[in-house]
């Protein structure tokens, strides 16, 4: 079999990192559930079954039912999509914004760099959830504004990483040579700097996906993210709270699901960092 060198190296390093391997396995499971979960759901996630309200696990409703008699298994399976895609999309947005700001800042240097980084420091000085809540205040509640809010809350941290990676690349001889050749700025940024900044951004981003999932679920829990009747897991916990003493499963299943997804991406991100950057140990 003819696999590229980096794939072989990746696989062999994965063998030495059982945590990373577990992360890859769990993430694969989560992504599969995201892709085919709704097709596997035995019921419609929004259909009421009034004669089976707040049931524990039973035949036909394997994880039990909620306060409207909706099937919890089906709701969890459908909820994978909004919950997981939210985390991935918000991280992508934050990575994109952070890369633009960080590369600009690192490439420009001088007073512009100073100004941008001081503003980023100020933004970092606001705790993430508070920052996201403030953005949502401006944008209004809903999944989309929660997504933008989490992406923007990630921007300053990602910008810092992108900036330091840019600074490291900028002093390399091949970049100096390109400058000396009289290459255009667009060539320098897109062909010389970005490809070298990307690895650092991928590692930083993959570590943050779990955090994005947790933030998104927390925002839905607070009632400013996903809105009913969505089967977003954070919202499911929030809606089920009034009934949690009558049927704990209503809050336990979505809570456990969030934990599993977040652990999966945490293990995956840490594993990826160890593999791509073996000098740093956790």
């Amino acid at each position: 079999m003819c696999r590229p060198v980096w794939v072989r190296r990746f696989v062999s390093r994965l063998r030495h990192s059982p945590q990373g391997a577990l992360g890859v396995l769990l993430v694969a499971l989560v992504l599969t559930a995201t892709a085919v979960g709704p097709a596997l759901a035995p019921h419609n996630p929004e259909t009421f079954h009034p004669q089976h309200r707040l049931q524990g696990p039973m035949q036909g409703f394997w994880l039990g039912t909620d306060q409207f008699g909706r099937d919890l298994l089906s709701r969890i399976l459908w909820g994978t999509r909004p919950t997981v895609l939210f985390g991935v999309a918000a991280t992508l947005l934050g990575t994109l914004l952070g890369t633009v700001v960080g590369v600009l800042s690192g490439y420009a240097g001088g007073w512009l760099d100073d100004l941008i980084m001081r503003v980023m420091d100020g933004m970092l000085a606001v705790p993430g959830l508070l920052f996201a809540l403030l953005i949502i205040t401006a944008l209004g509640t809903g999944t989309l504004s929660a997504l933008v809010a989490v992406g923007m809350a990630f921007t300053p941290g990602m910008a810092r990483v992108a900036r330091s990676a840019t600074l490291a690349v900028r002093t390399q001889d091949y970049v100096k040579a390109a400058v000396a050749r009289g290459e255009r700025i667009t060539y320098l940024v897109f062909r010389e700097i970005l490809p070298n900044v990307l690895a650092a951004m991928v590692v930083e981003g993959s570590i943050r996906i779990a955090f994005a999932v947790m933030l998104g679920a927390s925002l839905s829990f607070l009632g400013v993210g996903a809105q009913p009747p969505s089967s977003d897991w954070g919202l499911m916990v929030s809606e089920g709270r009034a009934y949690m003493f009558r049927n704990p499963w209503v809050v336990v299943w979505p809570g456990l699901s969030i934990a599993v997804v977040s652990i999966a991406f945490n293990l995956f991100g840490d594993g990826l960092r160890d593999i791509l950057n073996p000098r740093v140990t956790g």
């Binding site: 001081r118 503003v119 420091d121 100020g122 933004m123 000085a125 606001v126 705790p127 993430g128 959830l129 508070l130 920052f131 809540l133 403030l134 953005i135 949502i136 205040t137 401006a138 209004g140 779990a210 947790m214 679920a217 927390s218 829990f221 607070l222 009632g223 400013v224 954070g234 916990v237 929030s238 709270r241 949690m244 003493f245 704990p248 809050v251 336990v252 809570g255 969030i258 934990a259 977040s262 652990i263 945490n266």
Partner: protein, 316 residues
């Protein structure tokens, strides 16, 4: 610690607070519908609106509005809550007091439990204690607070058990013991994430310190184990932990926003979430600024303490 470092660090804190105030002001400026619309309601006439806008100074340029707003904040005029009609300052300060009642015990419990645990794990690397601490820390940082809190409630606050109330707050003036029962579960929830951070941090610093020359020298000299561990190792390992604790004040603020909602605890976090849900501008501005200020103050205090305790580093 030089005077120059002190002034530079203070300057940095001021710049931070300035940026934060601009963010808070800017965010509330772009709200759809300005304060005049919010006060008068959507059925107000154009005339009423423009009159009130002039009265509130909303027709002035943005920078003038910002300057006026900041001046008001600095001179203690925080305005009236649009939703409750009460003065913002008394609402916010009362809520802050209750939130501190959660935050300070959390920091205390975490420091008393996580630091010894982390140190013990470092001394017995690879032991069952070390491994289980590693796994529990991993779970701790991977589960959001609202899930931990809800699971605590389901397990420990079921009405038929009668162990803990399912939420709420009681002042300490009546029955201190009863009031404490309201704090146990929220504090435990907040402590989980912080314990994970601080025990891991202490462990990794302690592992590094135990491998240094001076600790080995102390062992060879035959000093008592207790002296080596506490005087040589732990004291040095704890320096970076101070910074982590300050960073954790940030997590604590985020945690309080969620945990107070889970336990229906009337603190600053719940007040701010209420204000955001109801678009109560003055309350949002004061609450967010106060939280950010607390965080900035914690970071400043940690940096100064670090510089003070670490004579090897001369900050110039």
């Amino acid at each position: 610690m030089s005077l120059r470092y002190l002034t530079r660090r203070l300057g940095l804190a001021l710049v931070t607070l300035f940026v934060v105030s601009v963010v808070v002001f800017g965010v509330t400026q772009v709200l759809p519908g300005n304060a005049a619309v919010m006060i008068l309601g959507e059925f107000a006439t154009e005339e009423q609106l423009s009159h009130l806008e002039r009265q509130l100074g909303l027709d002035r340029p943005t920078y003038a509005q910002y300057a006026g707003w900041l001046g008001g904040i600095l001179s203690g005029q925080w305005g009236i809550s649009l939703r409750t009609g009460q003065p913002v300052s008394s609402l916010v300060l009362q809520a802050l007091g209750r939130s501190l009642l959660l935050a300070l015990p959390t920091l205390l419990v975490v420091s008393l439990v996580a630091i010894p645990l982390g140190a013990a794990a470092a001394l017995r690397r690879g032991s069952r204690l070390d491994l289980s601490l590693g796994v529990i820390s991993y779970l701790g940082v991977s589960v959001p607070e609202f899930v931990t809190g809800t699971i605590f409630l389901v397990l420990l606050a079921r009405p038929e058990l009668g162990w803990f109330p399912a939420g709420g707050y009681q002042p300490f003036t009546h029955d201190a013991l009863e009031a404490m029962r309201y704090l146990v579960l929220p504090v435990a929830t907040l402590a989980v994430v912080l314990m994970a951070h601080i025990s891991r941090q202490t462990r990794s610093e302690m592992v590094d310190v135990l491998q240094t020359e001076y600790v080995r020298t102390a062992v060879i000299k035959g000093l008592p184990r207790r002296v080596i561990l506490i005087k040589h190792a732990l004291r040095n390992a704890l320096l970076p932990t101070i910074t982590v604790i300050a960073l954790d004040v940030g997590y604590l603020i985020g945690g309080i926003l969620v945990v107070e909602e889970v336990f229906a605890y009337p603190g600053l976090g719940r007040l701010l979430v209420f204000a955001i849900q109801n678009r109560d501008l003055p309350l949002i501005q004061a609450g967010a600024l106060l939280m950010a200020t607390v965080y900035a103050a914690a970071n400043l205090a940690a940096d100064l303490l670090y510089a003070y305790l670490n004579p090897r580093i001369l900050y110039v």
